[in-house]
Amino acid sequence: MAKVEDLDQVVVRFSGDSGDGMQLAGNIFSTISATVGNDICTFPDYPADIRAPQGSLTGVSGFQVHIGANKVFTPGDKCDVLVAMNPAALKTQYKFCKPTACIIIDTDSFKEADLQKANFATMDAIAEMGIKNDVIAAPITQMVKDCLADSGMDPKAIMKCRNMFALGLVCWLFNRDTNIAANMLKEKFAKKPGVAESNIKVIQAGYDYGHNTHSSVSHTYTVETKSAKKGVYMDINGNKATAYGLIAAAEKAGLKLYLGSYPITPATDVLHELSKHKSLGVTTVQCEDEIAGCASALGASFAGALACTSTSGPGICLKSEAMNLAVIMELPLVVLDVQRGGPATGLPTKSEQTDLLQCLFGRNGESPMPVIAATSPTDCFDAAYMACKIALEHMTPVVLMTDAYVANGSGAFKLPNLADFPAINPPYVPESLKGTWTPYMRNAEGSRYWAIPGREGFTHILGGLEKDSKTGAISTDPENHDLMTRLRAEKIEKIQVPDVVVEGDKDDAELLIVGFGGTYGHLHAAMDEMKAAGKKVALAHFKYINPLPKNTAEVMKKYKKVVVAEQNMGQFAGWLRMKVDNFAPYQFNEVKGQPFMVADLVKSFNQIYSE
């Protein structure tokens, strides 16, 4: 019998053809692990092709999950177990394996034709690639066919269950309870009990295969729960968490939620998610273009809704004029930018942080706009909630930045209680101002009042032309324009945001790591690794980008060395230099469309550390 070894953490990567159902297998395995109390962090790695030819190198779809006995911050640089359902997956994904990784392959899909599609020259892919790892070579296709021979399913449907066999095998390898998977499938296929039953049967067959043959591995593993916080959890990806944050904010504010949107990768799932929840009164309009998505949201905002528009970088280009109109009209609007690789169409399914300056400055005129960047899949919820709160209370458009990595990645989300969240109080125009009110009167925070159509005595016009600060009439007066420009800027600067938190050796760090948005997990993991090696290092990670936290300059000045690490060519470092006098940080910039590799970060930071 194989020995059971207890691990603190493990990384599993499922890979196969984009039709092989690797995302589902990976998702189920993550949830099983989370259900027993492990922390999880996932990363789906989709191919960019719409539908690459079956078995081809460009059609490989991957799903990586990092599970830990304690908190895990990233999906992991490299994996301990690789599932490769075909030769193309093995060829493209082997680079993600640790030297000690165990590889599971379906021998039935390593036939001559399959190998040729993946450009192998010989019949032995393992030898050709020089792979020395443990390999579980299982005739998965044949066993799935045998298992479902009496099911009455057609051959195509049977082939679709191969992913569940691989899942069963992985469950055996990690001593996971397959009952949890069975229950999930029963719920997923509640309306097709036959499909659920077949899938469950195949999972068990995969598990039993491992158990009976002990395969070709010397160990199986467990990952025990060590530090999970009590509570009720669900698995959530960033896009869903964003949608939930918007829904929560609308309910808290007592407003109708309106989303004007146009499909674009990787933001479309927010539109999908919100479109489902009509029972909560959510209105979604799939518009004729990105411009209309934003413009209609602005119309909805004027008419009294919590209005949002969702997109990715190229969509921000198109929305920028309407976003600017929201700036001068001083109407609440949440603009979601799920960043992807650019410029132009760029790398639609990949992740970058290259839209920062566009979000901050990509509009004509002086156009200040709050910017918030979510730091993890689950943080998308809080970031979206706060974006709504700021937009509504300060009567301004807000850009909520996420990226493909946090949008598609998932983590264990402790179910929030809406009662614990801060109230949202938009500055509705008080009835007492009837008769004396003008549209650009401001409250103590410098915000314009909100007079929603339908209220008698407050009819007014807003527009894209500069207005007189007192009367609200069109004005080209030089002094007035200068004043209005300053009032709009001050309003944003006055927004209260929490101080940036310094983690790690906050008193005596030799090196401060600085980042923003979706790289939090990787930077934190890099810090942990350096600290474990005895280095004095700290991390200041930013979620509030505009306005920056009040303590920003103080923190940036406190440490001997500062490195700003970001997935662009230095946009956040540049923004900090604008805001902090004499600030000259080191920079770590990488624009690969992939999440950071913690090992690369550590290597680079160590170099800076010892310079």
Partner: protein, 333 residues
């Protein structure tokens, strides 16, 4: 409460003296008073251009937005707040050039907007360039040798986008304008009103043949649902069907009597004849004025609201906490 045009008036319009927009504004204010919607329940939303200044002179809620996007902005306002009476004001450049996409999609979706298209066939605010409704060969500052492109005919676009309401009036014709504005308000769904409007500075005389009452007597036909299509200074002409076409006939000649004249059917779902009427132009045909098409159809905004109510009654979760519990969850104890 009895409303008058005064209740909708605000400020001093800044258009050139004699501009058709002055006439239209006065008619719109009168029409609104007759419609009787309280000013606080009206939103007038425009884009950019001379005519888009109009909301500034209305004592209602208003937005003077960005170039071309008025229909999209009005869409959001109406869907989010269906109780509002929403009026979208655009010129031919704003509505059909930069805003052409939103114009067709608002019509296709059939959002309950009153879409006013003030058509002077010129860009006035930028001082005299040809517009998408300028005729081929039109000489302007940006086409000194004449344009080499054909214009849009607004009715064709509206019908092509499956629009259910199209009406036309001349800006100087107050009763004709008020009538179609009231019909547009009464129509549930997107209602396109083309207003033939003169630009005294950059395109003077563009609608010359129908701009005066005398001209309209000779060169226009007022269409009324259920009434025979008779026109002319002495009501001596009529329209009849001729194969796949319509033609002008003289009543009393060749045995033609009033009974032979086509009766207007604005409610006919098939828009073939309505299209022919809308595209008539001189000198061979009269210009059609009045409500040309007015067909009932489900509106987008009603359908959105109905779907929400329907799903509410079917789904078991109605607030955020209940939504959370629709997911697979686990408890760490």
């Amino acid at each position: 409460m009895e409303l008058s045009a005064k209740d909708f008036k605000k400020g001093q319009p800044r258009w050139c003296p004699g501009c058709g927009d002055h006439f239209f504004l006065a008619s719109l204010q009168k029409a609104m008073a007759e419609i009787g919607v309280a000013p606080e329940n009206v939103a007038v939303i425009s884009g950019i251009g001379c005519s888009s200044r109009l909301p500034h002179y209305m004592a209602t809620y208003g937005m003077n937005t960005i170039h071309g996007r008025a229909a999209a902005i009005a869409t959001g306002a109406k869907v989010a707040n269906p109780n509002l009476s929403v009026w979208q004001i655009s010129g031919d450049g704003d509505g059909l050039a930069i805003g052409g996409n939103h114009f067709i999609h608002a019509n296709r979706r059939n959002i309950d907007l009153n879409m006013i298209l003030l058509n002077n066939r010129i860009y006035g605010l930028t001082k005299g360039q040809y517009s998408p409704t300028s005729p081929r060969g039109f000489v302007s500052k940006s086409s000194p040798y004449g344009t080499v492109e054909d214009p849009f005919r607004p009715a064709e676009l509206c019908f092509g986008a499956r629009g259910h309401f199209f009406a036309r009036a001349v800006a100087t014709d107050a009763p004709g304008t008020i009538e179609i504005l009231k019909a547009a308000h009464a129509h549930k769904g997107s209602s396109v009103c083309e207003i033939l409007q003169n630009c005294v500075v950059f395109n003077d005389g563009t609608h010359e043949s129908v701009y005066s009452a005398e001209g309209r007597k000779k060169n226009a036909i007022y269409l009324e649902h259920g009434k025979p299509m008779i026109f002319g200074e002495n009501n001596e002409f009529g329209l009849v069907q001729d194969g796949f076409n319509i033609k002008v006939v003289k009543i009393g000649e060749n045995g033609i009597t009033e009974k032979d004249i086509l009766v207007h059917d604005a409610h006919c779902e098939d828009n073939t004849l309505q299209m022919k009427l809308a595209l008539m132009e001189g000198p061979d045909f009269p210009v059609a004025l009045g409500v040309i098409r007015d067909v009932e159809a489900p509106t987008y905004n009603d359908a959105v609201a109905e779907q929400i109510e329907d799903v509410k009654s079917k789904k078991k979760y109605h607030n955020f906490q209940e939504l959370l519990m629709t997911n697979d969850t686990w408890e760490v104890k």
